[in-house]
Amino acid sequence: MLGEIPEKRILQLPEYIPNYNLPISSGFVINNPKSDKETTSEKLPVSAALRMQYLHNNTSNIEAHITISNGALQIISPIQSQQMPPVIILTLRTRENAIDLARRFGDIDNIGGQERIIDFLRILEPDLKGLSIAVLGNMPIIHANVGLSRKIPIAYTGDGLTRLLSMILSIVACKDGIVLIDEIESGIYYSKLPLIWKAISKAAKEFNCQIISTTHSYECMQAITEGLEDDEKDDFLYVRLDKKDEAISAKNYPYPLFESAILNNWEIR
């Protein structure tokens, strides 16, 4: 977990509610390629939800409902959507959607953000000179200029650069918000993982974006100790979920504890 923790304190563990209809009229949808944020105005029938209660800015007790509907994560809360931070979830399924990637890159490129994006990507691929969008078979595809005689689809440069681009675009789009990344190491060659951490931690700091990521990979965890700069370590927290019988508890590892565990080869997954 990188970045400042928002001023919200969860009061109890989420409660699973089967056969549930959404009772609250305002909310927003995240992880939807067509609409990153929208408001609902009527009760929606859904199959199940998680109910969470938390303190918002230490003043009011908020009850929110989280559902998955049409492939999108939906947070229904009495807080107006404008007050909630932007959130993007990158799952294994969504993070390499080429059209979504091209749309997000185009949005940022249109406001002059390409150079900043490329600066972050050069941490992994120093030969990268530029990105552009070209249509292949009716699909907009991001192409990369890596110094060859012609630009190539970014996927041809390898999974690592495509995945890093997906993460960086999400971070830039979520300024002052949160990006959740599922299994961050998946498909990335292990020796490149420190550079991935270096790039996303720099981007997260610059855009004041909190990164919450999951991993089962010890190599990925070792890469954190190589990828973070000293001034980024205070913003890092590793959380291990410990299951005993049916109860799950969270064990927190601030950076010094995390580093000690990794350097001494402790099993902390």
Binding site: Y218, R240, D242, K244, K251, N252, Y253, P256, L257, E259, S260, A261, L263, N264, N265, W266, E267, I268
Partner: protein, 98 residues
Amino acid sequence: MDSNKQKLEKERVILVEGKDAERFFICSLNKYQIDDVQIIDFGGVNQLQNAIGVLVNDSRYDQLKTVVIARDAEKDYNSAIQSIQSSLEKHHLPVPSF
């Protein structure tokens, strides 16, 4: 399951400072045929506090009954004791007095 990772395996633990101390205690336990004590090297004195934190966060910590900490007193016995006490306090563990 990766078996080469360090983890809590026994109910009694001796935290020791450095590889030499680790080897000494392992040989001593072998000599006296004691097999229910785990020896863990915490590195240097500045790393003791974090090593205790890692131990407390381990998934088998609630099965731990006894922890002994063995470190070099260096030039100041009282300072070494205070450092150990402070490391234990940091993780809300009982602090023995001397």
